[in-house]
Symmetry: C2
Subunit: 909 residues, 2 copies
């Protein structure tokens, strides 16, 4: 515990400063700092966060004993600063505000009590001195209500219950037949105070405290107490804030924006928080206290004239009316405005970031109550960072660090057109599985989605859950909505890969495939009805809400260039089509880290020879079918190699269990039998024989290539022939052949043999050659554990973190929904390990395998290609353990690039 | 390469000795050693294994160039020893045998060529000198045939094809109207030789080699060549013999057992290989060469008189006839017998182990051709080791090491009565899933097995595959037969746990549950028909073959006592019932390492409240059902604690996914609906909601206890109450509560909290307490990786190697049959990792976790409780990494105890 527990500030001096956030909280540190840089701030003092921690150790009384003297001393300095009023002197009362202030801003905690120090005697003094009894009694009424609610705990726990004070006000307004609080007379307010105090007595059994010091201690302790209320605990959990931090308490002399026409209160941003434009802006209210701005009872006015004029244009208010009725602060109080303008400039310059400020004007004098870095949209984040870098305010590393990687996501996907939102009605909520907005007509079957798309219709594919068979339908739909499945369900993973909007696990939706309808809480929508999805929030709307495409600015491009300069990790993409490859390349991908060949087999007619192969009874039969697949697959690779020319393309050999390629429903099986010209029974027997109890741990990955080497042979041939064909056209392909699901060195050796032999055969036939690498996916724990052996053969490792997470935890991604929510709620897991890489377990394996692999092959190229490749904290981890690259879905490439730059910059600090 | 490549032996001297197995092979080393200890052995020399390796490097000609001089020199020494005959001298020819001899005896390689050195001229010399033309020409005929077959490669590759030489003989016998080879005259034999040589010329285009040196080099190179033939390669693979070892070649002067009535040949064992009785025994044939004994053309006679008399009694031969027609060697050649008897005694004493010897008597003189440690049954193995220890021949450590742990299995299970075998007909083969023999009436449904058992009927439960619902039926059946599933299928694992005979995966069996029949290759058996199973071989017989129980001898008990003395690892058992606990305790188990509580829930009526719990919609409903389970489960634990009193009992909390407790077929669901008094639809909805894509990685283990803490509460209460109830009766229970499937520290902490709180509540209610431990199963890779964290809370670790193997390899035990056979065949895997612990991967995790766990909790108790706990090489591994115990099924406890002693003894050497 530090020696000093109470820090005074005021009159442009301060005992603390802006760097003392840990001890003074964000608000306290900023108040001190503002004083130090000469900004007018009402005097006050901060009780440190350590006192909060002490409170939870020793309790209320002991804490008060400990700090009483310091607080009294600090209050004395405040009194000295305001020159006259004294705290607790009813003849000349000093009123104070009491505010919480943790290190990080924390909604959910007790926030503010204003006008503390008032009582029946002091209120009369103020009424007299101010000549404004209404102001005095309104302040008193507000104080009793706030204090009763939060310190005396009269605020109801649930929103459904009524606040006892609001009930009293409502009743009085009803009795008097008035609508607005402002219509209450000073006498009404006086009567309200009496009624409020009676309510307090009724509920608590005690009189409302009239001693200002008793009021103060009550308020300070209530702030400490609120640190552990449920909402605060939940917020900390969601935001990874440790409970040990504690909150500080700020006690500050009141200034009044509600002292008449020459007083006001307002909030402002030094730049536009939505667009990032370098334009001072904000709102104010004349004759009001802070809460009125938020309450929305009166329409706040714009601070700047230009802002006011913009507002008027949107609101269709003529200029004359605007200037008369809604003048800007710039117009109504030009001199105060000048003060405010230079102050905000000063604050932004000082903090070197866009500020969100609160101010009060009391009787023509400007007081700053708060400044903090302003929240902003993703677009504003990028623009402000780059602008400030260009302005020379910050350097390029700071500009990079200012941009939160995850927030770039906002910039990369279509969004609802703000003007069109009213066209939709919220009907359900699911998980925000893949960001962006989409609108389209409901369709229930993938093949119908294709048909409709061919007719130029926009569709939303709605399924209970999706499977690989739905792939093409997903591809042509605008968005995907599923009733089951989590953030890492098939639908979610595939949609993110495609950069397509998806809402998954919308549990209230019941789909009737036969009737082609979906029902939500009794409301039925049918095929062809319009719905709209917000994949960034999980909201589902009925109706057609227009969307607009994301536009990537020059600032964004500059941010990416800067990232490039610092990032040491390369960023590749997971892409299975030339289109995805191109998208990712445009986003700056430096190659393909994962090209899943199986997706190709679902496309169009390819499924037929694939199924022929599966149905074949022997190798000869399989070879016959594979021969039909060869030219199709080769063409696929040619397209992808061309899109990625000069950059490496990692191609994973066939991975999923074969049962994913056959239909599991009667209709599909009948169709398959018809197309194949065999009996339904034979199809069903084959499907049955492919059944596995745990397909995730079954006959898949290189276990396929090792039992049916002819598959590996065909795929290798397709890859090498494609590369050689492009070479003839002067295009350089750099294939890296990746063997999936290796757990044993000999699995890889066996595949390597087939690949090298096949490649040599093709080289001989073409009388030409290309360079290629052979490597493996490390996704089975055993492979990671024996990486030093596997690196004898593997020229590269790519960690498949999805499967590695599944097997390291023993979690089936498809079944985790049964316990993950409970685990997160009970804090058994801090986060979903499929979204944020588990560094302790899975990360340990990755680190170990990287070190051991490089111990036998120093030049081993190592990357990851699971879902985590685009998640900033996981990217940072990959940087720190020295991987060469991460690979992620195309739309996450910019995020990963920025995260990689962050990791490098932080690593050098 | 050693300096010396050819080692002479003969005349009681030798350049090598018995310790040089690596260089001289087993046979060569033993031949040298016999000379050194004064045993009469025909002189000869050994070409080393290194020459074989050289052969595969530089080829035939270079090898011959390299060793020609040494071989000639060695042959000179042989000639000197035999005093007269010279190799290659047709006027006084020395004939030799050429035999392969690897370090380990290896069927499948070229074995022996006799009489090498004969040609048209030498044969005449021998005919004249021996005065026995028939012997001379018969020897020549045999030589040409053997040489032609194996050196000149005339032996057909497939058994279906005819040996060209046999065809010639058959034709001659047919032409001459004779049956036996012995009826062929010398002229016939002479003509055969001519025909044989013509056949060689026809097939190879070359004349049969007449130069003895050419013959010799051909034979030597053929031995080397046979090292790499398919059968030898397969054998090495099956027995883990490295290809690099190579084989030696032994060239030895011929002695002839076929030189007349004063000559003979035979094989003998120094003790009884079947029972272990200390009784010299063997068979011989007068006037015969070694191969005749094996060929079975003539009935060999017993060597000892007592053996002869025993044989006569079994064969119903009167004593007079026996003595006249089938005299023992002891009777027919008493002096040679005395030599043989003292020689075998000498050899056994020298080698300190039961010997398997080959000898030839040439003209009244005894020559030893081979001695080696004799193969024996499990029972003989134990008796011989303990007898020799008692006799003072070997010490107790050697006695222990002489007993192969795995072979004890033979002693522990019922076997078919040898006299009753003819009662059955082999109808199918499956996997030897759980050893022993069983006979009973076919039954297809578990509940019927219970009914029939209640009526005193013996049954064999026949299922396509079993599930936990069949448990009780499996328990009452004599044996289990399944059409699907491998060595680690549900049926196999459970049966081994019960010590019950099981044949699994008998693929040719088709079961028609409706008709209550099974069909094998068109043959149909129906419910109630008798079948018999051999779980040690996988054979399935129709008919009733009587079995007899295993009897454990005093020698066995002594072996176990000795094991106890040396073993450092404790051996516990996996047991879920008082009966199993008692069986294991009788076998020497030192506690229960795994008591699976879920099996209890299937027994009798317990399934009903279990299903009520699963069906419950909320915690209150679950608690209601659990309250019904509590007394039942408590009674289970009381029984087990009583059987295991004073010894620790590790109880695993509920582990399997809940869907295992509900019926998946319509009939079962209808029944469940009826019993529960709810609609079929509700049952089906629940079953559907419990469905998982990968149940192995799903909602199971402590994920259940953490989502439904009331289950953990009930189980803890049952355990603690049971222990306290026994305490009242003066019985000490030592419960260790094991939380399954932990992957995250907080999963265990959360469970620990519930367990400790519940236990404290029970202590308070009873006003008494007991000691208990809380630990965890380490079966998820992440738990092993973060063992240092988990050991903060866990008081013991038990590695669940089944699941740990599943997740470390990413293999589903239930699905592995799709690729495991191919992996074993292609040598991608050396063994099934579910049977033999994978030390490189899974073992690495176990070792790492043990070290890391003990680094934070030095007294941490660590064991394994997977299937590997009873597999000798895995037990040895557990010893070496310092575990405290292994736990295995009751019938494997003795095996594990012996293996533990082996590990300790080997570790100290």
């Amino acid at each position: 515990m530090s020696e000093k527990q109470v820090y005074f500030f005021g009159n442009k001096t301060a005992e603390g400063n802006g760097s003392m956030r840990e001890l003074l909280g964000g608000k306290g540190a900023n108040l001190a700092e503002m004083n130090l840089i000469g900004i007018p701030v009402p005097p006050g003092f901060t009780i440190t966060t350590e006192v909060c921690t002490l409170y939870y150790k020793v309790g209320r009384e002991a804490v008060i004993r400990q700090i009483r003297g310091d607080v009294q001393a600090a209050m004395g300095k405040v009194e000295a600063s305001v020159n006259g009023p004294k705290f607790g002197d009813n003849k000349n009362p000093l009123l104070v505000s009491v505010r919480s202030g943790a290190r990080a801003s924390m909604p959910g905690m007790m926030d503010t009590i204003l006008n503390l120090g008032l009582n029946d005697e002091a209120v009369e003094t103020i009424a007299t001195k101010s000549g404004n009894p209404r102001f005095a009694w309104d302040s008193y009424r507000r104080f009793v209500q706030m204090y009763g609610d939060v310190v005396l705990d009269l605020k109801p726990a649930s929103k459904e219950d009524h606040d006892p004070f609001e009930e009293i006000i409502d009743k009085m307004k009803k009795d008097k037949g008035i609508q607005l609080d402002t219509d209450l007379t000073p006498d009404d307010l006086k009567q309200l105070v009496a009624l409020f105090k009676k309510a307090v007595k009724d509920k608590t059994g005690k009189d409302f405290p009239i001693d200002p010091w008793e009021q103060l201690w009550g308020a300070v302790m209530a702030v400490f107490g609120s640190w552990m209320n449920d909402r605060a605990i939940l917020y900390r959990k969601l935001n990874n804030i440790p409970a040990e931090w504690g909150t500080a308490v700020n006690v500050q002399a009141m200034v009044f924006g509600n002292m008449g026409a020459n007083s006001a209160t307002g909030v402002a941003f030094t730049r536009d928080a939505a667009t990032g434009e370098a334009l001072f802006n904000g709102e104010y209210l004349i004759n009001a206290q802070g809460e009125d701005v938020v309450a929305g009872i009166r329409t706040p006015q714009q601070i700047t004239k230009i802002g006011s004029q913009r507002w008027a244009k949107l609101a269709n208010v003529p200029e004359e009316e605007r200037a008369a009725e809604y003048p800007s602060l710039e117009e109504s109080m030009p001199s105060v405005y000048q003060d405010l303008f230079s102050t905000q400039k000063h604050l932004e310059q000082h903090h070197k970031d866009m500020q969100d400020i609160e101010f009060t004007i009391q009787d023509g004098k400007l007081w700053m109550l708060q400044t903090r870095n302003g929240k902003r949209t993703g677009a504003a984040m990028v623009k402000i960072a780059i602008d400030m870098f260009r302005e020379g305010v910050i350097d390029e590393q700071t500009a990079l660090l200012r941009c939160e990687a995850q927030k770039l996501d906002e910039l990369l996907h279509p969004v609802f057109d703000a003007d069109a939102l009213s066209a939709g009605t919220l009907i359900a909520r699911g998980l925000p599985a893949s960001p962006g907005a989409a609108t389209g007509q409901i369709i229930f079957f993938a093949e119908d989605a294709e048909t409709w798309a061919a007719q130029g219709k926009k569709t939303i594919l709605v399924r209970t859950e999706t499977s690989p068979e739905d792939l093409k339908g997903m591809y042509v739909a605008e968005g995907i909505l599923t009733a089951r499945g989590g953030m890492t369900s098939h639908a979610a993973v595939v949609a993110r890969g495609m950069g397509k909007c998806c809402v998954s696990g919308a549990g209230s939706i019941v789909i009737d495939y036969k009737a082609r309808t979906l029902t939500i809480d009794g409301k039925t929508l049918k095929e062809g009805d319009w719905i709209s999805l917000n994949g960034s929030t999980g909201n589902v709307y009925s109706g057609q809400i227009k969307t607009r495409e994301a536009e990537l600015s020059g600032d964004f491009a500059e941010l990416m260039t800067l990232s490039e300069k610092y990032a040491r990790l390369q960023v590749r993409t997971n892409a299975d089509t030339p289109h995805d490859a191109q998208v990712a390349r445009n986003f700056g991908a430096q190659g393909i880290g994962l090209c899943r060949t199986e997706h190709m087999f679902f496309e169009g007619e390819k499924i037929i020879p694939m199924r022929e192969m599966i149905l074949a009874d022997d190798e000869a039969g399989r070879r016959k079918a594979l021969a039909k697949l060869l030219p199709l697959q080769r063409a696929d690779f040619e397209g992808i190699f061309e899109a990625m020319q000069e950059l490496p393309v990692t191609i994973r050999l066939l991975d999923p269990p074969l049962h994913e390629f056959v239909p599991h429903d009667l209709k599909g099986q009948e169709e398959m039998a018809k197309v194949m010209g065999i009996s339904l029974k034979k199809v069903q027997e084959k499907v049955e024989s492919l059944h596995e109890f745990n397909p995730m741990l079954g006959h898949r990955g290189c276990r396929l290539g090792n039992t049916y080497p002819e598959i590996t042979e065909m795929q290798t041939r397709a890859i090498i022939e494609a590369a050689l064909n492009l070479k003839k056209r002067g295009i350089t392909a750099i294939p890296e052949i990746m063997v999936p699901l290796v757990g044993i060195l000999y699995e890889l050796k066996y595949q390597e043999q087939i690949i090298r032999m096949t490649a040599q055969n093709v080289f001989d036939e073409y009388n030409d050659r290309i360079d290629f690498k052979i490597g493996t996916m490390i996704e089975v724990p055993r492979a990671a554990l024996t990486a030093n052996r596997i690196a004898e053969t593997a020229e590269f490792f790519s960690f498949g973190t999805n499967d590695l997470t599944q097997m390291t935890f023993g979690y089936s991604r498809d079944d985790i929904a049964k316990f993950l929510p409970v685990y997160l709620e009970k804090n058994i897991l801090k986060s979903d390990p499929f979204q944020i890489l588990d560094q302790k377990g899975v990360g340990q394996l990755i680190g170990m395998a990287t070190v051991n692999g490089r111990s036998v092959r120093p030049e081993l190229k190592v990357g990851i290609c699971g879902e985590h490749g685009g998640e900033p904290s996981s990217v940072e981890f990959c940087h720190h353990i020295g991987l060469n690259y991460v690979s992620c879905s195309p739309f996450r490439v910019p995020i990963a690039r920025l995260a990689a730059a962050h990791a490098a910059i932080k690593g050098n600090k």
